[in-house]
């Protein structure tokens, strides 16, 4: 590439992500002069339309933010409401919530690993195109995805926008025999999930690592899905209710998603890499062993290897689901009683793509006065841009098509969900 020549690499519609985004990378000679990861998903104003709604409606309304991770929205909403109303949901009800959430992790991770991300490593335009040469891998991925969906359908009534979650618990909890019916299916899913780890571990991973500040939930004993403490790889250790004192959202022109930063520190990363690197010690033995066998250490700093981490987390989710089902004793009541009262509550949970935070302020009769929602992809936006700054420069010699594809892949490392983040992608590389 001749010095001083300017190029622009542009991707107007980023494929294999949920929602609409774009990327522009401007190059001058061999130097990157600008990276803009844009979200042009039309804004839907959830935080405004929640005002005036009843507290009990939040799980069903906020699930409509994202068809890929509706359970994450429902779970975060109910936790925030329960925090505001002074209610604690524990025991089997909490276990069932984790079980439903495991279903969403399995479905979402299997979708991304096999159909959306693997084609990048193997050089296919799509999972469907990949199926011609790798029929067993694609079929296995689809079957694993299906197992996650079956779990969600059992506990939630349907896989997209489940109907069974309410503030205080569930509308109807399953009987033991209903859960037992899916046990055999999940045992097969565990074999499938382990096979996926063995399949992805030898993919060609670009040599790329960064010293991220990872942020994830941390629980005394569990690999984090639900929890009330947030930790970071740079010493942050706070209660979820102190989130707003430590993180700030910024509005930038190129995006209908707000960018989050850790106040006074800058960009941070959430999602599988963060969760894994901060909670390796909380993984079940079978997941830890799968990670070691795949060549992962207890910390993973290469975002391209997130596909391996997602595969390991799928093992974790299936194993966890099996353990919850084995220990399940139905609770006496489907939900704990909830009495509306005024107050403010926060909730945070680990969506497949990273932490999701909700905060609500309620009037005395339980009407929502104010809502704040911070999805994982908007928290990762700044980190994604920073990755691209570092990633592109050593690769400017690549041809237009190859470079563009690799940039897309670097973004798909985050499994970005743009429907969620909008208040959130299109890729263009400009060589000015």
């Amino acid at each position: 590439m001749s010095r001083g020549r300017s190029r622009t690499i542009k991707v107007d519609v980023l494929a294999r992500v949920e929602g609409e985004g774009a990327l522009t990378v401007r190059l001058k000679g061999d130097a990157v002069v600008d990276v803009q990861f844009r979200i042009h998903e039309p804004p839907r104003f959830f935080e405004a339309l929640l005002r005036g709604r009843a507290f009990g409606e939040a799980p069903d309304i906020t699930s409509r933010i994202c068809g890929i991770c509706p359970v994450a929205y429902q779970m975060t909403a109910v936790h925030a409401m329960e925090d505001a109303l002074g209610v604690t949901v524990d025991g089997p009800l909490r276990a069932l919530r984790r079980l439903l959430y495991c279903g969403e992790w399995i479905e979402s991770h299997a979708l991304h690993v096999t159909l959306l991300h693997a084609p990048d490593f193997l050089g296919y335009e799509s999972g469907i195109a990949m199926a011609k040469d790798h029929p067993e891998a694609v079929t296995r991925g689809l079957q694993l995805k299906k197992a996650g969906n079956e779990l969600m359908r059992l506990l939630g009534g349907r896989e997209i926008h489940p109907v069974n979650v309410r503030v205080g618990g569930f509308y109807r909890v399953p009987a033991r025999r209903e859960l037992a019916a899916i046990e055999e299916r999940l045992k097969r899913a565990l074999d499938e999930a382990l096979a996926v780890v063995r399949w992805v571990r030898d993919f060609p991973f670009p040599d790329f690592e960064r010293d991220y500040e990872f942020v994830a939930l941390r629980h005394p004993t569990e690999y984090p899905i639900l929890g009330d403490r947030l930790v970071s790889s740079r010493g942050l250790d706070i209660a979820v209710r102190d989130y707003d004192a430590h993180f700030t959202e910024e509005h930038v022109e190129r995006s209908s998603a707000l960018h989050s930063v850790r106040t006074g520190h800058g960009a941070y990363a959430v999602g599988p890499l963060a969760r894994y690197s901060l909670n390796f010690d909380r993984l079940a033995p079978v997941a830890q062993q799968a990670a070691r066998d795949a060549g992962l250490g207890p910390v993973c700093l290469n975002p391209f290897r997130s596909i391996v981490v997602r595969a390991v987390e799928t093992v974790q989710a299936v194993d966890e689901a099996l353990r919850i089902i084995a220990a399940y004793q139905p609770p006496d009541d489907d939900a704990v009683p909830v009495v509306p009262c005024g107050g403010t509550g926060c909730g945070c949970s680990e969506a497949p793509r990273g932490i999701l935070y909700h905060r609500y302020r309620l009037a005395g009769d339980g009407t929502i006065l104010e809502a704040k929602i911070v999805p994982p992809t908007s928290q990762n936006q700044k980190t994604i841009e920073e990755d691209l700054w570092r990633f592109v420069e050593p690769r400017v010699h690549l041809g237009e098509q190859e470079l563009t594809w690799q940039c897309e892949q670097a973004i798909r490392n985050y499994d970005p969900c743009i429907s969620c983040a909008t208040h959130f992608l299109k890729l263009s590389l400009e060589r000015a």
């Binding site: 980023l14 494929a15 294999r16 992500v17 949920e18 929602g19 998903e41 039309p42 804004p43 839907r44 104003f45 959830f46 935080e47 405004a48 339309l49 005002r51 709604r53 009843a54 409606e57 309304i61 409509r64 933010i65 994202c66 068809g67 890929i68 509706p70 979708l111 159909l115 959306l116 799509s126 999972g127 469907i128 195109a129 199926a131 029929p135 694609v138 689809l142 079957q143 995805k145 299906k146 969906n149 009534g157 349907r158 997209i160 926008h161 109907v163 309410r166 509308y171 109807r172 910024e250 509005h251 930038v252 022109e253 209908s256 707000l258 594809w405 897309e408 969900c417 429907s419 208040h423």
Partner: protein, 260 residues
């Protein structure tokens, strides 16, 4: 004789949650067969590859909420032989149609610090308000069995065979005990079209109308019944002004409960 040309399928997204197009990827057992039967010509959520139009069948998800999208839908229509809208957003405006009952100017600053960056319309409207639509598939989200039926019907040049009765019929068929009769739980089942499989009452909750109104629903009569069960005008307003707020019959019923 040569092989029949594979029909070209395109999937388009406007303002939405991606859930309805995900329903297509959720057809785990049928996806690869479908991809063999049709050419998936444009489906950005699943593939980088985009084939040029025209397309034999376009599935459109999402509602029109920006000036840009109000233009783009005309391009999609021009490129499509058959255009089918899928889901509540595309058929009635979706949950984001709650803006139609408010002043969007008041809303933007509640979410965005720099409102000047945001280009949005005052309303969220269904696709049929902008271009002719060949078929509307309802639901939030659409039911994947219904989605497959619609795709197969259009690929074979016939009309989709979808039931048009209420959720109540489905409960009877499933043998689900009526939550309104047995538990006095408010339920929109009598006025809501079937398609979901009547799942809410099977989980002992009332239907919340996410498949929208059936044809000629008696919403006023249901409103009176719900009032007997203790629902206030504010409750009824919210019940009808939810996921399907923009659907004509639900919109009118919700307006009849405004500060009465």
């Amino acid at each position: 004789m040569g092989a029949r040309r594979r029909l070209k399928l395109a999937v388009w997204k406007f303002a939405s949650c991606d859930g309805c197009q995900l329903s297509l990827l959720d057809c785990e057992d049928e996806l690869l067969a479908l991809a063999g039967a049709v050419e998936i010509a444009s489906f950005p959520e699943a593939s980088r590859a985009v084939a040029k139009g025209p397309y034999d069948l376009s599935l459109v998800e999402g509602s029109i909420t920006t000036p840009h999208d109000a233009e783009r839908i005309h391009q999609v229509r021009r490129a499509s032989k058959v255009l089918v809208t899928i889901g509540a957003c595309a058929t009635s405006g979706g949950i984001q149609a709650l803006r139609n009952f408010a002043d969007i100017g008041d809303w933007i600053p509640l979410v965005y610090a720099t409102p000047d960056f945001i280009h949005t319309l005052k309303t969220s409207t269904p696709i049929a308000n902008h271009v002719p639509v060949d078929f509307e598939l309802h639901g939030c989200p659409v039911d994947k069995r219904q989605l497959l039926e619609v795709i197969l019907a259009f690929l074979n040049g016939r009309k989709p065979a979808l039931a048009a009765h209420s959720v109540c019929f489905e409960c009877k068929r499933r043998g689900t005990v009526c939550v309104m009769v047995a538990d006095s739980t408010p339920c929109l089942g009598p006025v809501t079209r079937t398609g979901c499989g009547a799942i809410c009452p099977a989980y002992r909750r009332g239907c919340y109308g996410c498949f929208g109104p059936l044809k000629n629903p008696n919403t006023a009569s249901l409103g009176e019944r719900l009032r007997v069960l203790g629902q206030s005008d504010a409750d009824l307003l919210r019940a009808f002004r939810g996921i399907q707020a923009g659907a004509e019959a639900f919109r009118k019923e919700s307006e009849s409960h405004e500060s009465r």
